[in-house]
C-alpha cells in the first residue's frame, strides 16, 4: 500500500519524477501495476456515474467499458508513440513507452475519479441528456490533457521535443476519441427499452462531436440533409447510442427505440 500511495502521490504532484523513472527504468514495476489499478478503479467509477443517467444494466456496462476504452487507447497509441519518438526526437525503448502511457492513463483516471462526484451530482439534479454528454466529454478531454503532461515530461529538452509532443497529442486524442466512440453508449436514455453493450458503427467520433454540439444549441439535421448523405447521417441523439430525435422534437425529450 505504501508503494501504491507513493506512486499516486507522484502522479498527482510530481509527474516529472514519474516520467524520469519511466525513462530510466527505475521502479517501473511499481509504476506499471499501480497505474493499471488506478485505471481500473478510476475509469470504472467514472463510467458507472455515466451509466447512472440511465440506470440498470447501463451502470455495469459503462463501468466495464470506460476502462476498456482507456486501455484500448493505450494499446493502439503505444506503437505510434514509440515510432514518433524514434523518428522525431529520441528513441524510447518499448518498456519506457509502456511505462509512460500507463502512467499517463493513471493520471487521467485520477482526474476522472475527481470529476465523477460532480458529474453524479449534476445527473442526480436532472441535467439534460445533451448537457450531460458535453459535461462528460469535457471531463474526459480534461483528463486526457492532464495525462499528456506525463508523456511530454518524458521527452527530454532537445530538438524536436515540441513537434514530438504535438504529434503524440494529436494521435492520442484522435485514437482516444474513436475508441470511446466505438464502445458507446455510456449514458443511455431512461426511456430506452434495451441497453446494448455496444452500438453498431455510426459515422465517426469527429462527426458526433459536430452533431452533438449543434444539438446542444437546438440545431438538428433535417431529413433532407440526411437523405443527401444516406450513408453518412449521424442522429443528434446517437452520440451515446440513444434513440434518434425527430426534427420537431425539442431538446431533452425522450423517445424509446422501436
Amino acid at each position: 500500500m505504501g508503494r501504491i500511495g507513493e506512486v499516486v502521490r507522484l502522479l498527482l504532484r510530481d509527474p516529472e519524477e514519474v516520467a524520469r523513472r519511466c525513462r530510466e527504468g527505475e521502479g517501473l514495476r511499481e509504476v506499471t501495476l499501480t497505474s493499471l489499478l488506478l485505471i481500473a478503479v478510476g475509469a470504472a467509477v467514472f463510467g458507472t456515474v455515466l451509466g447512472s443517467h440511465r440506470g440498470d444494466l447501463q451502470l455495469l456496462y459503462s463501468g466495464i467499458k470506460l476502462p476498456l476504452a482507456i486501455l484500448a487507447t493505450l494499446v493502439v497509441c503505444g506503437p505510434a508513440f514509440h515510432a514518433i519518438a524514434a523518428t522525431l526526437h529520441r528513441p524510447w525503448p518499448m518498456r519506457t513507452v509502456i511505462g509512460l502511457v500507463l502512467a499517463s492513463a493513471a493520471r487521467s483516471s485520477l482526474v476522472l475519479l475527481a470529476v465523477a462526484p460532480l458529474l453524479w451530482l449534476a445527473i442526480d439534479l436532472g441535467i439534460s441528456y445533451h448537457a450531460a454528454v458535453i459535461l462528460a466529454a469535457l471531463g474526459y478531454a480534461v483528463s486526457g490533457v492532464l495525462a499528456l503532461g506525463v508523456l511530454v515530461r518524458g521527452l527530454e529538452a532537445t530538438r524536436g521535443r515540441l513537434l514530438t509532443a504535438a504529434a503524440c497529442a494529436l494521435v492520442f486524442f484522435a485514437v482516444g476519441g474513436q475508441t470511446a466512440w466505438s464502445l458507446r453508449p455510456y449514458l443511455g436514455r431512461p426511456a430506452q427499452a434495451e441497453v446494448p453493450f455496444v452500438r453498431d458503427r455510426e459515422g465517426t467520433f469527429a462527426d458526433a462531436v459536430v452533431v452533438t454540439a449543434q444539438s446542444a444549441f437546438g440545431f438538428y439535421r433535417t431529413p433532407a440533409q440526411d437523405e443527401s448523405r444516406p450513408h453518412e447521417s449521424v442522429d443528434p441523439g446517437s452520440v451515446a447510442g440513444d434513440a434518434p430525435l425527430s426534427e420537431s422534437e425539442p431538446m431533452g425529450t425522450r423517445r424509446s427505440r422501436r
Binding site: R23, V76, A83, T87, P93, T158, T204
Partner: protein, 199 residues
C-alpha cells in the same frame, strides 16, 4: 553526410530502432536487410488499410503502400542526382541513396507505428470518408517525416557549398519534394482501393 537527427541521451536506445534509423549500414548485407525491414514496416500499414475490406485487399494494400517509395527511388533520385552533379554539389550518389534509404526507413517506422491506430479507424468508421481521412492522414504524416529527414540530410551536405550551389540545391530539392508527393499520391490512388484505386 552525418545523420542530423540527435541520438543518445539518458534513455537507452532500442537496438532495432538504432539499426533502422541510425547511420547508413556499412555492408551490402546490412543495406539489404534494412531495405527489407523498411518495406515490411510500410507493408504493415498497408495491411491496416486493407483491414476494412479484408481478403485480397490486405495483400493489395500491403504491396501498394511501399511501392510509392520504390517509384520515387527509381524515377526521382537519378534525376535529382543529375541536377546536383551538374551544379557541382558536394553530394555523391551513395550519399544520396543513403539519405533516401534513411528517409524511407523513417517514413516506414512512422507508418508501422500508426498502423494499429489506422486499423482502428478504418474498421470502426461507418463511412468510407472517415476511413479515407484516417488512411490519408497516416500516409501524409509518414511521408512528411521521411521527407523532413531527407531534406535535413541534404542541407547538411550542402552546408559548406557556395551560394550558387546552395541555390541550385534548394531549387532541385524543392522540385524533388513536390515530385515525390505527386508521384506517391499517384501511386497510392492507383493501387489502394481505400483511396479509390483498383480493388
Amino acid at each position: 553526410m552525418e545523420p542530423c537527427i540527435p541520438t543518445g541521451g539518458t534513455a537507452p536506445e532500442s537496438h532495432f530502432t538504432a539499426r533502422l534509423l541510425g547511420a547508413a549500414p556499412s555492408s551490402a548485407g546490412e543495406r539489404v536487410a534494412r531495405a527489407i525491414t523498411t518495406i515490411a514496416l510500410a507493408a504493415v500499414y498497408g495491411l491496416a488499410l486493407g483491414a476494412r475490406d479484408g481478403g485480397a485487399a490486405l495483400l493489395s494494400h500491403a504491396v501498394g503502400v511501399p511501392s510509392a517509395a520504390l517509384a520515387i527511388a527509381i524515377l526521382g533520385l537519378p534525376a535529382l542526382y543529375i541536377v546536383l552533379s551538374l551544379s557541382a554539389a558536394p553530394v555523391t550518389l551513395r550519399q544520396l541513396v543513403d539519405a533516401a534509404a534513411g528517409a524511407f526507413a523513417h517514413a516506414a517506422m512512422i507508418l508501422a507505428g500508426l498502423a494499429p491506430a489506422v486499423a482502428l479507424f478504418v474498421t470502426t468508421s461507418e463511412t468510407a470518408t472517415g476511413a479515407l481521412v484516417a488512411g490519408v492522414a497516416g500516409l501524409g504524416f509518414g511521408g512528411a517525416v521521411g521527407l523532413r529527414y531527407f531534406l535535413l540530410q541534404l542541407s547538411g551536405a550542402l552546408r559548406d557549398a557556395t551560394t550558387q550551389v546552395k541555390l541550385v540545391g534548394v531549387g532541385a530539392t524543392l522540385v524533388f519534394s513536390i515530385f515525390s508527393v505527386a508521384l506517391a499520391s499517384r501511386v497510392w490512388v492507383s493501387t489502394l482501393s481505400i483511396l479509390g484505386g483498383v480493388s
